[in-house]
Structure formats: C-alpha cells, structure tokens
C-alpha cells in the first residue's frame, strides 16, 4: 500500500523532462493525412457520380469522350480512396482492393463496346434478331418478316462474317499498315489509302465457310437477280462512314460475292480512315452486316413517311416509275401524295422524265420514261393501301417511320427498308415544367437533390424509425443519411433539412427517380404531419395541396438523345457505379466482398476510415511531442497537434493556453468546459482520492487507468480527445469539414462507483445525448454515441454541450443516489446547459 502511495506521489510530483521534440508523431500524422486524402477522393467520387446522373437525366448532349473521361477519373479516385484506407490501417482492407478491381474490370468491359462474338455467318431474314450483329436494317426487316408483312425473301450476312474474312485474309494487318502510312493532314493520302484497301479487299477470296454459307442461302432464293445492301451496326444515318456502295441493285447470282466485297470495301472512305488514325481500326465502327434480297420487279417504287417530317398532319408518299433508286436525290421530280384520315388529300404528279430499270447484264439502266407511264404512278386505292401498310409498321415500331417500298406489275406492295423518321419538333416551354403562380408556397428555395415532382401526405421521421413510413408519403427528415435509401420504393418524395446534392442519399434518390429537396430548413416544424403537399424539385419549392399541373408533366422529349450510343453505354456502365447496396453499416452486407459498385466501395471505405481514425488515441501515446494545456481548469491535458490545431505562436511552446487553440472542434468543446468550470475537489488531494479508490473500486485496471494521461490529438478540423475525469473514461472525437464528412462521436465508460450508480449515470448521459440528436447505443455501463448529417456549425454547438456535460457529470458522480436523482439532474442539465430547448 505504501509503496503504491509512494509511487503515486512521485508520479504526481516529479518534474517532467522537457520534450525532445514538439513535432507531431509521424505515425499519427501519416494516418491523419491518409484520412484527409481519403476524404478528398470520397468527395471527388460523389461529385463525379452526381454529375453523370444529372447529365443523363436532364437532356444533355454528351459523347463517348465525356463518358470515358468520367469513368477514368472515377477509377483513379476510387484507387486513391482504397489505398488511403489501407494506408491508414496497415493494409487491413486488401479485400476492398479486390472489389475495386472487379468493378473496374466490369466498367472497362462496358466502355470497350460491343465485341463481335461468333454468330451465324448468314441467316434468312426471318431469323435475324438483335444481338446477332446483322445491323439495324437487317434486324428491322427481320421483324417485319416475322410480322408477316410483305418483305422480299432474303438473307443477311453478319458483321462477324466480315471480321472472319478480314482475319483470315490478313486484311486487318493490311488496313492498319495502310492507315499508319497515310498522313492525317493530307486528304489525298487518305483517299489513296482507301483505294489501296478497297483493291486489296476485292482481291482476296472469302473464307470457304462464308462462301458456302452465302451459296447455301442464295440457293433458297428464287429470283435470279438480287439486291445487295449494307446494314451497319451503328444506329441510323445521322453520321456514317457509308460510301458509294450502300446498295447495289440487280445483281446476278454469280456476282453476289464480289458485290458483297464491294459493299464492305466501300466503308473505307477518307472519313473512316481519319477516324482510324486516332481511334485505331475497330470492328465496332468498321464492320457491317450485308443484306441479300430478291430483286422486286418494280413497276413503281418510292418512299413513304408515316408522318410529315415537318410536323404537319398526315402521311406523305413519293413515287417514281421503275426502281426506287431515283425516288430520292432530287434528280427526278417524283409524284407526291398526302394522306390524312384515310383520304388522299393532295396529289402532285411529278415530271418523271426518266427512270431506272434493271439492266440485262446486271446493275441499273437509266432510260427515258415511255409515254404510257407518264401520269400518276399510283391510283388512289393503291395510295391508301400503302399508307395502311405504313401505319402497321409504325404501330409495330411505335415511332414514325421512313419506309422504302416497291410495287410490282401484279399490284403487290413490298417493303424494302424501314427506319425511324425524325419528325420536327418545336422548342417550346413544354420542356420546362410550368411555374406555379397561385399556389401557397410552404417552403421555398431548397436545394434540388433529385429532379422531379410528386405529391403525398407529410410524414416526419422520428428516431430514424423507417419501418413506420406509410406508402406514398412525402418523407420529411432532419438529415439525409445514406441508410434512408431503403425508403425508395415507399415514398413519393424526400425532404431533408440538411444534406448536399452530392451525398450518398441524393445519388440513390436520383437513380430511383424519387424527387427530393435537401437543405429545406425548418421543414420538420413547418410542414404539418399528414398534410397533403406537392414537392416541386424543378424549382425547389413545396406547395400546399396536390398540384396536378406539376405532376402531369410528361416525360421530357429528349429529341432522341437516349438512343445515342454514348447515352446507352453510360446507362449500362452506371450500373456498376451508382447503385448503393451497402446502406447500413450495421447490416450483414457491410463487407468488402459485398461491394458491387464504386458507390458501395466509397461508402464502405469512408465508414471504415472513420473507425480507423478513432483508433488514433487507442495506442500508446507519449508525452514527448505533446504540449500541456495550462488553464484555470486543473485538467491534466496533453495536446498533440498534427497540424493547424495550435496557433503559430505556440509552435515552440511546451506549455500552451486555451488562447493558442485553433482547432475548431477543440475550441467548441473547450467553450463548454470553461462555461461550467471546475467546482469539485482537486485530484491532488491524495488522501480523499485514494480512499475513494480503495473503498469503491472493483475494477482491477484502475491502477493503470490512473496513470493514463488525458490526450487531445488535434488539427484544425479534427479532435480526438481521450479523457479521464474522476472515474469516467471518455473519448470524444470530432471532424468538422464538409457536410457529409462532419461528425461527433462519444464513447464513455464509467467506473468508480457501485453498479446501480454507474447505470444511473449511463441513463442520464443517454437521455441528454438523445436530446442532442445523437444516436446512442448504451451497453451495460458504457455508451457509444454518434451524430452526423449536420453541418459543422451545428456540430460545434453539440461539442460545446458535450464539454459542459463532461464537467457536470463528473460532479454528479457521487450523488446519483436514486432514479429520481437521474430525472432531476437531467432536467436541471437540460434547462441550464442545452440551449434553445
């Protein structure tokens, strides 16, 4: 006993040696810096994800370059994120890097585009479907054939067949070389290269299996002449590399192979080669399917628009005598017929001075139109029959169509091609939802976290009780926590008082297209529970009642942006980026191997990083490098500044004062501490102290604990304070930064009294913390509590109250005699120390 006392006495009264160095301990500093690096990456990732979502949802025009860049940026930041986490934790999360690689690989696959997979080399039209690489033209004709419409018999040769041909004949290599030798700045040299490539292609024989396939399918056709047409893999016609030989008419059977090669070869225009110079030769751009179809002995042919491209009413048909190759191109003036509501409402007979006919040797002849074919090409019944046919096609594809047709002498119509018709639209205010003038605005100027509008009854979330939210409610919450993502199927809209547009929850809501407003200050108090409101997440307002005008806004007309390749690729790629599966850190799936997306990885890493950071004060901390805080309050507090926590004047001081503190969280906490002050006995009264120790301590670790110093590891934005006050051992940690990064956590263990008293103390603390909006997990005689989702200013307020709380709790320690005492002291504390209640 005496030796223990003696030791204690010596410990309290010995002279402390002067610190060797006042610089921050490298290990701690390194961990903190890694944490900051992780936060920066986290923020960059969420911002990029939000940007991608907005670009997709709000009618932006973007190209593959944008998509690739964004994905590359994301990949890099996720790499930094994961490496920072491992840097902080001595590589404890190697599994997370595996998850990262998995996802990165999937993203890269989507970006590299369609790979030509082995597919049947040739198929009859009726069997041609999507995903077999036959190209849009062939796929559409395949569909029309299966519908039973009159399409000439024929077959397609797949783009994969071209690839096979090129690979077998060494053409890929030849093409690459030709491109490499040409000069990008010289059009002439590009033309020459194209010529060389075309010649080479025409000179090479087709691989035997392809020849055989073509021959076999040709044999199934009955006409002795066919039409050979290109069917490119990229969607329609706004820009293609297609050259001269898009369509070759009237081909004798023994020339089909040669024409096939010509059509393929004609892709290599100067434009195509310019493209290959920078992007390389890829089958994605330069492989095409080819159609071979029976020649229709056309008496009349032309084009049918199922809608007026200028946006007017009715269908428009133009017609020429003979083959349809003269129908467009402005060389001959065609007949034009207009059909509205089943009537031919207009007719213009063109001067069809000449026409195309099939030449005996193959190909097409231009001849003067004989006299008996002058006059209208189509009679009214024929016009109507054709329009009816067009309507069926339009119904099937559910969009206006541009259709090539031919009419035989026997009076049969055939469909030769169908593609989407772009109809002119007006750039009207339809695109912007109406501004509501007359309605009552309950709350205005909130941040639009997820665009859209919805209505429903208000439901104010309490105690994070997500299970009770009624279907179709407008959820109102004080914070935008990622865990709330589970409400997605149930709510009409989300209104949160805090939270940013780049938060996890905002990302989830945007993906699910649930309208959401964040930063809606006062929403929880201003919106009455149960009241019907309309959330306008176009302009950031909440209106009383249900405003149909806003809700009826039709799906925005994007002008076809959603059909573009870049959009589709981004849509597919985002599947591996935005969905958040790891919503709740306490759930089973919060593990690296359960991470399916970059978003999952980001969430996981951030949560774990905070856990790792907390451990800063868990290891052995040394006085060396620490300063002592000297103040009216006799706390034995050692300060380790990792950067920015103390003012420059204190750089060389071993003893610092509160005025030297520049750490924002520490200052807030200290304000609370000093407000209450110290009213109890000083711990240097050893007799009283030791009697308390010996009579009440049941904790065998007490002796070591009494040797612990109080340490505060601080930076400008961070504080990790491990505190011993009497028999309370508390760790208070806080990071004050951007909204989604800020938090305060509080871990408390209390000893030094018999169990009932300790439990009462826990209950008192729990109640105060819950009032302060902390999430509290009380265990038997300890507490873990945490608050986040609020901005730094609000959290400073909480820290201040914590400072007060710690001072007050110490003094109440010995007087927690009964349950009533708990209630009493809770009320007292609430009234005197917790502002604004």
């Amino acid at each position: 006993m005496t030796s223990a006392l003696g030791k204690l006495k010596r410990w309290f009264t010995r002279k402390r040696p002067s610190p060797v160095s006042l610089g921050p301990p490298p290990a701690l500093l390194e961990r903190y810096l890694q944490y900051k690096r992780l936060l920066a990456a986290n923020s960059a990732i969420l911002t990029t994800v939000a940007d991608l979502q907005v670009k997709m949802a709000e009618g932006f025009l973007f190209d593959m370059h944008y998509v690739r860049q964004a994905c590359e940026r994301l990949g890099q930041e996720v790499e930094v994120l994961v490496s920072s986490l491992n840097g902080m934790s001595e590589d404890r999360y190697a599994a997370l890097d595996n998850a990262r690689r998995r996802v990165a690989h999937l993203v890269a696959e989507e970006l590299s585009g369609i790979k030509l997979k082995p597919a049947p080399l040739a198929l009859p039209l009726a069997e041609i479907r999507e995903d077999l690489f036959y190209g849009g033209k062939a796929e559409k004709l395949g569909e029309l054939t299966r519908l039973g419409l009159a399409v000439p018999a024929g077959f397609g040769v797949s783009a994969y067949a071209q690839k096979l041909f090129f690979e077998t004949a060494g053409l890929e290599k030849f093409i690459r070389q030709a491109i490499a030798h040409s000069h990008i700045r010289d059009l002439e040299s590009l033309r020459e290269a194209g010529e060389d490539i075309r010649e080479k292609i025409l000179g090479e024989p087709l691989p035997p299996e392809l020849s055989q396939a073509i021959a076999a399918h040709l044999a199934a056709l009955s006409s002795d002449r066919v039409a050979v047409r290109s069917s490119g893999l990229q969607e329609d016609a706004f820009f293609s590399f297609a050259g001269q030989f898009e369509t070759v008419l009237n081909v004798p059977r023994d020339q089909v192979e040669q024409r096939y090669k010509e059509v393929i070869a004609s892709q290599f225009t100067p434009r195509a080669l310019y493209y290959c110079h920078t992007s390389g030769f890829s089958y994605q751009e330069l492989a095409m399917g080819v159609l071979v179809m029976e020649m229709v002995p056309a008496k009349t042919a032309g084009v049918l628009y199922t809608d007026d491209p200028r946006g007017g009413a009715g269908a428009i048909i133009n017609a020429v005598c003979g083959l349809g190759s003269l129908a467009v191109g402005g060389v001959v003036e065609p007949d034009v017929y207009r059909v509205e509501a089943g009537q031919v409402v207009a007719r213009h007979v063109g001067e069809k001075t000449h026409m195309h006919v099939a030449a005996p040797a193959g190909g097409v002849l231009d001849v003067a139109t004989p006299a008996d074919l002058q006059g209208p090409c189509l009679g009214p019944e024929q016009v109507l029959a054709l329009e009816e046919l067009g309507r069926r096609v339009k119904e099937h594809f559910r969009s206006p169509q541009d259709i090539e047709w031919a009419l035989t002498a026997a009076g049969e119509f055939y469909l030769l091609q169908a593609r989407p018709l772009r109809v002119s639209r007006q750039l009207k205010a339809d695109y912007l939802p109406p501004r509501i003038k007359e309605a009552e605005i309950l709350l205005g100027n909130s941040i639009i976290a997820s665009r859209g509008a919805a209505a429903g009854p208000v439901y104010v979330l309490e105690n994070d009780n997500l299970a009770d939210i009624p279907q179709g409610a407008v959820l109102v919450t004080p914070r935008a926590l990622p865990e709330y993502g589970v409400v997605v199927g149930r709510v009409a809209a989300v209104v949160s008082e805090a939270g940013s547009a780049t938060s996890h929850l905002a990302t989830v809501l945007r993906e699910a297209r649930v309208p959401a407003l964040f930063g809606a200050k006062g929403a929880a108090s201003r919106l009455d529970p149960g009241r019907e409101v309309t959330v306008d997440a176009y302009y950031g307002n909440i209106y009383a009642g249900r405003l149909e005008a806003l809700l009826k806004v039709p799906r925005e007309d994007d002008g076809g942006v959603r059909q573009t390749r870049a959009y589709k690729v981004l849509e597919r790629t985002l599947k591996y980026i935005t969905p958040l599966n790891l919503l709740d850190p306490r759930a089973d799936n919060f593990r690296p191997d359960a991470c399916r997306t970059y978003h999952d990885i980001t969430r996981f890493a951030h949560e774990k990083a905070m856990e790792e950071l907390f451990q800063l004060s868990a290891g052995r901390l040394y006085e060396d490098g620490a300063r002592r805080l000297v103040s009216p309050i006799p706390l034995d507090l050692h300060i380790i500044d990792l950067g920015g926590g103390l003012s420059p004047e204190a750089a060389d001081l071993a003893l610092v004062r509160p005025e030297h503190l520049t750490s924002r969280p520490m200052l807030a906490y200290w304000r609370g501490v000093s407000a209450v002050g110290w009213q109890g006995p000083k711990p240097v009264d050893l007799a009283g102290f030791m009697s308390v120790v010996m009579s009440t301590a049941t904790d065998t670790n007490v002796r070591e604990r009494l040797h612990e110093k109080n340490f505060a590891i601080i930076t400008h934005d961070y504080m990790n304070l491990s505190n011993r006050l009497g028999f309370h051992f508390a760790t208070i940690e806080a990071f004050l930064g951007a909204l989604e990064e800020s938090y305060v956590s509080f871990n408390f263990y209390g000893g030094g009294a018999e169990l009932p008293r300790r439990l009462r103390r826990i209950r008192f603390l729990t109640r105060v913390l819950e009032d302060l909006d902390f999430r509290v997990e009380p265990k038997e005689d300890s507490i873990t509590a945490r608050i986040d989702g609020y901005d730094a200013g609000t959290l400073e307020g909480k820290l201040e109250v914590l400072g007060r709380l710690m001072m007050v709790a110490k003094q109440l320690d010995m007087v927690m005699l009964s349950e009533d005492a708990v209630e009493q002291y809770y009320q007292e504390f609430s009234e005197s120390h917790v502002q604004g209640r």
Binding site: L61, D63, L190, Q234, R271, S424, G559, T564
Partner: protein
C-alpha cells in the same frame, strides 16, 4: 432555312448535333468528322454557320476557324469546347469566333446559341444591304 457545317472528330457528337438541329429547327446540317474535309466543303458551299470542336487530331478548331475567316471575314464560327478548357475558348473568341459552347451541353443551349448566331447574321446582312441602298442613292 440556314446551312450549318458541323465538324467534330467524335462521331456521336456529330450525329447528335445533326439530329437535334434538324429535328428542332429548319436548318440543314452538313457533318464531317474530318476537319481537313471541312476545308474542302467550305470551298464548295456557303455556310451560314460553322460549328467546330476545338480539340481534333490533325487540325484543331482554331485552324478551321482561321481558314473559314480567311475565306470570308464575316464567317460565323461557333466553337465547342470541353469542360475545363476555357482558355482555349477565350483564345478562339479573340481570334474571331462568334461564340463558344462547353460540352456536355443541353440541347436548349445549342439551339438557342445557333438561333442567336443566325439572327446576328441576318442583322449583319440587312445592315449591309441598307448601307448599299443609302450609298447607291
């Protein structure tokens, strides 16, 4: 109504521009992915407006701009620049570009910019005609 030449080495962007402009206005768009070809096209036809990307391999937008203006000092050129490269957009404007737009952009933005350019051109033309009338007197 107006004739527009669009030059961009990104195929998707070209297709989108043509689709959007022709879909929502009366203007006709000629497209090419090859800025060298653009020179040839400029020789063959008069365009009311030239839309060109800034960063292209072989010949960049500034050269296209220079050539267009060499041929016709009144040529209206609008440059398309990627987000984050405002300096090049500013340089282009200093060298005579009428306007610039940053991609990705919303379709309303490009349509309104084109509209603005076309109205400007019309105004310049009318101005010239009126001057000639006055001088002719």
């Amino acid at each position: 109504m107006g004739r527009i030449l669009a030059v961009d080495d990104e195929l998707d962007m070209l297709a989108l521009l043509k689709m959007i402009i022709e879909g929502y206005s009366d203007h006709q768009v000629t497209v090419t992915n090859n800025p060298l070809e653009a020179s040839e096209l400029l020789d063959k036809e008069n365009f009311d407006l030239i839309l060109t990307d800034l960063k292209m391999p072989g010949m960049d937008g500034l050269e296209v701009l220079a050539r267009a203006r060499q041929r016709d000092p009144d040529a209206l050129v609008m440059v398309i620049t990627a987000y984050g490269s405002l300096e090049s957009a500013e340089e282009a404007t200093a060298k005579g570009a009428f306007d610039f737009i940053t991609k990705p952009f919303r379709k309303e933005q490009i349509l309104l910019s084109i509209d603005k350019a076309m109205r400007w051109r019309e105004m310049v033309r009318q101005n010239r005609e009126m001057k000639q009338l006055l001088e002719g007197k």
